[in-house]
Every structure is written in structure tokens, then in C-alpha cells.
């Protein structure tokens, strides 16, 4: 408990550095990640993060110790090379992109492993520090290293802000961006560079194996909360920063624990939560929405039955039994009874003994649905040139989703018509 208080009071300057550093780099990679995800290049991020390993090892072999700036350069070069080779292979042979990514990823990673074992077997004194590049160790973010990584992270964020409009356009509509005269291929190159940089910033805290997740997971999660790209970027950055904080916290509580996996688990939990529960897009929300729609459809169809039975005589207050009502439509009996109950609670129908009849409100409502149905049928025949016998099916679906505004618009467009294509009267209650 004391340790938790110590951590969150940020009294120790070392903790401040580690926390700020991890949050900043996680947020910056999450920002770049938004464009990677929007451009459907998530797996490229994966390739880059694995491919920086040989660069890191080469820098270590060259310098003989853990020289952070040199390692960044090494990682940058090998990550960049990997992307270039993948592009070259896919453009110049029949090898598909997925296979090209897999091959380059493993060949580079294999090379990295070879160099890593070479370093281990040749007993370099300070090789222990190299381990943290594999699965990450946020606690290793100390002193000047934090400053170096933070500078890169800030450069990333600033570059994204400067080129925001351009990235936005190319991410959503590349052909359009081209016609506007934007240098699309150079922007692509810039984004590639930013991807590699983002991976490079994360190697200490997250490690090369799981860095891909820090790029794409917050962005994929943020995509579920908004359609506005500015909001997506901000949300993604917040998710990233939160995972960074989680990683730094774990690093403080259990120094021997690799922090990369914890950061990834934190951001994955956010992502899975978003996939299921985000409003408007989450699958639970969609499921609920669909259920709601089915309920309303059931209710409105019952109201229509009352109208249909009453229409020939013009008397809409008749009382009918459930079986009589169900003759008109093939529906599931349980669903039918539940819908009747809901209609009753909405005061649209009333029960008398075993029979049901419409209330005043019910009559208005049933006429409204029939009106929408017939208006839509008329619209389809008049404006879509559809033959009259084909419009019913479509109207059966559309009648449940037409809003009052659309209804008004239809009335105006059609000139307040009296009859639908089947010569039935379009009902209007005053």
C-alpha cells in the first residue's frame, strides 16, 4: 500500500521521469498508430517492431556498450530497411504482402537473435542491459535516456500536427488527395519514417517484440469511440498514455517484471472494452440496438394488423382475439404476445376479456405506420421507377425507420397524395 502511495505522489524525481517518459512515448506512438490503422497497415507496424532488433545489436557490437543514441540510429536504419525491402518484394514479384511481411520480419528477427546470442556467448560485460530491449523495462528509462526518447516523442507529435491535414486526406481518400496535388508518395514515406521512429521510442519501455501493439491497439480502440479523426487521435493518445502509466507502475512495483507485456495487456483491455461496449459501434451496443429495432418492428406490425382488419369497414375500434390477429401475419407466438404487452403498457391497445382493441392513440399510431408504408411505396414507384407489385417488400422494412422529418419531406415531394400505387387510401388523421 505504502508503495502505491509513494508511486502516485511522484515525490521521487526518478519516478517522475519514468512515468512521464513512458506516458509520453506511449502516447506518441498511439498518435502515429491512428494513421497506420486507418491506412490498414497494422501488420507493417508488427514487422518494423521485430525488425529493429539487428540494428540495436549492431549498435551494441559497434559501441561495445549500451549507447542509446547509437542504438536509436541502428534501430532506425534496420526498421527502415525492413519496410523498404517488404515494399520492394511485393512490387517486384508475385509474393503477396502478408508473406513478404512474415519473411522479412522473421529473417530480420532471426538475424537479431543470432547477433544477440553472439553478444551473449562472447561475454560482453554490460550485455545485461540488452535484455530489456526484448520485453521492455520502463525502470531502465533513466537520466539522459529519458530526455532522448522524450525529444523523439515530441518530434513525432509535432510532425503529426504539422502534417495533420495531409495525413487525414491520404488516410481517408488517397485518390482525392492525389487529384488535389498532394505529394502522396512522399507523405507515405514520411508516415513510414514516423512509424519507425515511434517503434524506436518504445524499445526501452515496451521492448521490440510487443511494440507493434503500442502502435495499433490504442488506435484500433479509439476508432470505436468516434468518427472524427481529431477526436480519434486524442482518444488514442489518452489510451496510450494510460497504458504507459500502467507499465511504469508495474515497473516500480516489481522491478524484475518485463513492463512491455503489462502495457500491452492494459491497452488490450481498453481495446476489448471498446470493441464490445463503445456507444454506437461496440458489439453489445449494436446487439441491443438490433433487439430494440426488432421489438419496435413487432409492435408496429401488430398495429398495422388492426388497421388492415378495420380498413374495409372503416371502423377501427373493433375487438379481436389473439388468434384472429395472428391469422394476418406469420409471426412467433411468444414474440407476438410480448409485443402486445408492450403495446398495452404504451397505452396503444386495450384488453377486454380475451380480446384486444385499439385506443385513440393506437388508432393514430397505426394510421401513421400505414401512411408511411404507402407514402414510401408511392415514392418508390414515382421516383425510383419501380413497378407497383415490387415495392411492398421494401416498404415493409423502411416504414419502421422513417423519421417524422422524412415523412414531411415525402409528403411535400409527392404533393400530399391521396392514394398509393395499389389505389389504397393514404390515411391522414386530423
Amino acid at each position: 500500500m505504502q508503495a502505491i502511495i509513494d508511486f502516485f505522489s511522484f515525490s521521487d524525481p526518478n519516478i517522475r521521469y519514468v512515468v512521464l517518459g513512458s506516458m509520453l512515448l506511449a502516447a506518441s506512438s498511439a498518435i502515429v498508430g491512428v494513421f497506420i490503422v486507418l491506412k490498414k497497415k497494422a501488420l507493417i507496424g508488427d514487422a518494423v517492431s521485430h525488425s529493429v532488433l539487428p540494428g540495436i545489436c549492431a549498435a551494441f557490437l559497434f559501441a561495445g556498450n549500451k549507447n542509446i543514441p547509437l542504438m536509436i540510429v541502428g534501430a532506425f536504419i534496420s526498421g527502415w530497411l525492413a519496410i523498404i525491402i517488404i515494399d520492394f518484394i511485393t512490387h517486384n514479384s508475385k509474393i503477396k504482402k502478408d508473406a513478404a511481411i512474415s519473411i522479412i520480419l522473421t529473417v530480420f528477427f532471426g538475424l537479431g537473435v543470432v547477433m544477440l546470442t553472439y553478444i551473449q556467448h562472447n561475454g560482453y560485460a554490460s550485455q545485461s542491459g540488452l535484455e530489456s530491449f526484448i520485453f521492455g523495462n520502463a525502470a531502465a528509462l533513466i537520466g539522459n535516456d529519458v530526455i532522448v526518447f522524450s525529444i523523439i516523442a515530441i518530434i513525432l507529435v509535432i510532425t503529426v500536427i504539422i502534417f495533420f491535414k495531409e495525413f487525414e486526406l491520404t488516410a481517408f481518400d488517397e485518390p482525392y488527395a492525389k487529384t488535389l496535388g498532394l505529394p502522396v508518395s512522399r507523405l507515405e514515406l514520411l508516415l513510414t519514417t514516423l512509424t519507425v521512429l515511434a517503434v524506436v521510442t518504445g524499445i526501452t519501455a515496451v521492448g521490440v517484440v510487443l511494440m507493434a501493439a503500442m502502435l495499433i491497439t490504442p488506435a484500433a480502440a479509439a476508432r470505436f469511440w468516434s468518427d472524427n479523426i481529431k477526436k480519434i487521435v486524442i482518444i488514442s493518445a489518452c489510451f496510450g498514455a494510460f497504458s504507459g502509466l500502467a507499465g511504469a507502475f508495474i515497473s516500480y512495483m516489481a522491478p524484475a517484471m518485463p513492463t512491455g507485456p503489462w502495457m500491452v495487456v492494459a491497452s488490450s483491455c481498453i481495446a476489448f472494452f471498446s470493441f464490445f461496449f463503445a456507444p454506437k459501434r461496440g458489439s453489445v451496443f449494436l446487439w441491443w440496438h438490433k433487439r430494440q429495432h426488432i421489438k419496435i418492428t413487432d409492435e408496429e406490425n401488430i398495429l398495422k394488423i388492426f388497421y388492415q382488419i378495420g380498413e374495409p369497414s372503416g371502423y377501427f375500434e373493433g375487438e379481436y382475439s389473439v388468434s384472429k390477429l395472428m391469422e394476418k401475419r406469420t409471426v412467433n407466438q411468444d414474440r407476438f404476445k410480448l409485443a402486445l404487452k408492450r403495446l398495452k403498457s404504451k397505452d396503444l391497445i386495450k384488453r377486454v376479456g380475451e380480446n384486444w382493441h385499439l385506443t385513440k392513440n393506437g388508432m393514430k399510431e397505426s394510421a401513421r405506420i400505414v401512411r408511411l408504408h404507402r407514402l414510401w411505396e408511392l415514392y418508390l414507384t414515382k421516383y425510383m421507377q419501380m413497378p407497383a407489385h415490387k415495392v411492398h417488400e421494401n416498404a415493409e422494412m423502411i416504414e419502421h425507420i422513417l423519421t417524422p422529418e422524412l415523412e414531411k419531406e415525402l409528403e411535400v415531394q409527392l404533393g400530399f397524395p391521396d392514394r398509393d400505387p395499389h389505389e389504397s387510401i393514404i390515411p391522414r388523421f386530423k
Partner: protein, 295 residues
């Protein structure tokens, strides 16, 4: 003798994985193979914790279940939750792999796998784990038997179901039209991929197995236009990679699996350059009408 066992292990891994990988490459699902191979890690660790030893069967079952779950989650996120395909793969497997690594470090004392093993396996230790009969006869390394049986199963699987596998890979629409369930064969293939990953895990680790799954088939894909030859070349290339990879590793005293991956890269580069200068081979794809189909 030691080097023979190591090369044999490497070759068995490369051939089993490569044969399955051919169908992954043709289905353009290399990255799903990648995802499965990462994601079986928590399955292996959990099975270890439950069974308390390296009992192969428990671990096989545990990890295969997880492999299938991975496939299922990816499909679910993509189709039902409408997460875009590449992000669904990326999010799922990094999550499961992270859980695996966390479990490993939490139960470091109880689980006899270390992080190096996850990264690049311990193929060099394979000859130590020998199978000795009651009368004391040395029957050779235990993993050889496991990998050998796996290879036999995979070869039989491909021989018997060649038509189904190739049709669902080339023309899923046609396959389902003549009554072959694409979903069933998808999951069967992914199930075998997870089993292969698990069996090979000890030798080459969770990350480099993708090299064996995708590397040899892609090279074969570059140099031939027939599926049967692609399978054959995959076998040859797999054996070559195991042999030369080990020689380089022994010479430099470095990771064997890593060297095998590098060898794959070298062979790939050579074939790539060769086919680039050979315009005939360059863009021609393996096409559907070369598969005999009786309807």
C-alpha cells in the same frame, strides 16, 4: 551424432511447418499463422502449470485449444465486432503473447521455460532429452519422435485431403458450391498450425516458427507454378535450411534457430534475384486450372 540430431530436428520442423505453410501462403493468411504461433504461448504456460511437467499431451491440448481460440477471436472481432482485419490480428495476438510472457515471469520458478526459449528455442538441447528403454538402449532424442509423428500426420492429412485443401485455398466460392465447407477446412488447417507450433516450440521458439511456416513455401512459390511442385520444393528447401543453418550456427557459436532464419533469408534473396532476371517466372501465379477436379 549431436549435430545429426539437431539438423534432423530442424529439418522435421521446417518440413512439417512448411507443408502446412504452403496453404497459408496460398490463402494469404500468413499473418494468421504468425498470430497463432505467438498466441499459443499462454496455452503452453497454463498447461505447464496445470500438469506440472513437460507432459507433451497436456501441453499439446492446452496450446491447440488456444490456437483455435485465437483463430476464433480474430474471426469474431473481424466479422461481428467489425474491427478491421489487420487490426483484429494485431490486437489479438499481441494481447495473448503478452499474457503468456507475464505468466512466464510470474511463475518463473514453476515453469521450466525461460524467455530465451520463447524467443528462439533450445534446439541445441534437443539431443540431451533422450528416450532410453528399460533395458538401457538409447533410442535417440524424444522430440524427434514427437516431430516425426507430427510430420506423418501432416503428410497423410495433405495426401488424403489434397482436393479439399487446394480448392478452399484457390476458389472458396467454388469449393462451397460443390459442398466443401470452407469454415471446417479453415479451422482444421489452423488447428494443425497450432499443434505444429506447439510441437516445434521447444526447438525454435514462438517467434521464429513463422520463418519455418512461411519462408520455405514462399521461396517455392517464387520458383514454381504448380502446387505439387511447390510442396515438393518446400520439403527440399526446408531440409537445406536446417542443414546450412546449423553449419553456420556451429561455426559462429550462435543461436541455431536464428541462423536457420537467416539462411531462409539468403535462399529467398537468391531465388528472388534469379526470378527477377527470369521474366517468364516473374509474375505468373499458381492458377486454379492446374488442380484436377472431379465434380
Amino acid at each position: 551424432m549431436i549435430s545429426f540430431w539437431i539438423i534432423l530436428t530442424g529439418a522435421l520442423v521446417a518440413v512439417s511447418a512448411g507443408l502446412l505453410g504452403c496453404f497459408l501462403v496460398l490463402r494469404r493468411m500468413s499473418m494468421v499463422g504468425d498470430a497463432i504461433s505467438h498466441a499459443v504461448l499462454p496455452g503452453i504456460v497454463i498447461a505447464f502449470l496445470i500438469s506440472g511437467n513437460r507432459e507433451p499431451l497436456t501441453i499439446l491440448i492446452g496450446a491447440s485449444i488456444l490456437g483455435l481460440i485465437t483463430t476464433f477471436i480474430i474471426e469474431y472481432l473481424h466479422k461481428k465486432a467489425k474491427v478491421q482485419g489487420d487490426a483484429a490480428i494485431g490486437v489479438t495476438y499481441t494481447f495473448l503473447f503478452a499474457v503468456g510472457v507475464i505468466l512466464l515471469s510470474l511463475f518463473a520458478g514453476q515453469v521450466d521455460i525461460d524467455q530465451d526459449c520463447v524467443l528462439y528455442g533450445e534446439i541445441a538441447y534437443v539431443p540431451i532429452d533422450t528416450l532410453i528403454t528399460a533395458s538401457g538402449i538409447n533410442l535417440g532424442p524424444r522430440p524427434i519422435y514427437l516431430l516425426g509423428s507430427l510430420l506423418i500426420i501432416i503428410v497423410l492429412f495433405i495426401l488424403f485431403f489434397y482436393k479439399q485443401l487446394s480448392l478452399t485455398a484457390f476458389d472458396p466460392g467454388f469449393a462451397s458450391a460443390i459442398g466443401i465447407s470452407t469454415v471446417l477446412w479453415h479451422y482444421l488447417l489452423m488447428g494443425l498450425v497450432s499443434i505444429t507450433t506447439v510441437v516445434s516450440f521447444q526447438s525454435v521458439g514462438a517467434i521464429l516458427i513463422i520463418n519455418f511456416l512461411i519462408g520455405p513455401p514462399s521461396i517455392a512459390y517464387l520458383i514454381t507454378r504448380s502446387l505439387k511442385r511447390m510442396l515438393l520444393y518446400t520439403v527440399i528447401i526446408g531440409i537445406l535450411i536446417a542443414f546450412f543453418g546449423y553449419q553456420i550456427a556451429a561455426y559462429l557459436d550462435v543461436s541455431v534457430a536464428g541462423c536457420m532464419a537467416v539462411t531462409t533469408g539468403i535462399i529467398f534473396a537468391a531465388c528472388f534475384i534469379y526470378t527477377s532476371y527470369n521474366a517468364k517466372m516473374k509474375k505468373k501465379d499458381i492458377i486454379m486450372n492446374q488442380i484436377p477436379v472431379e465434380v
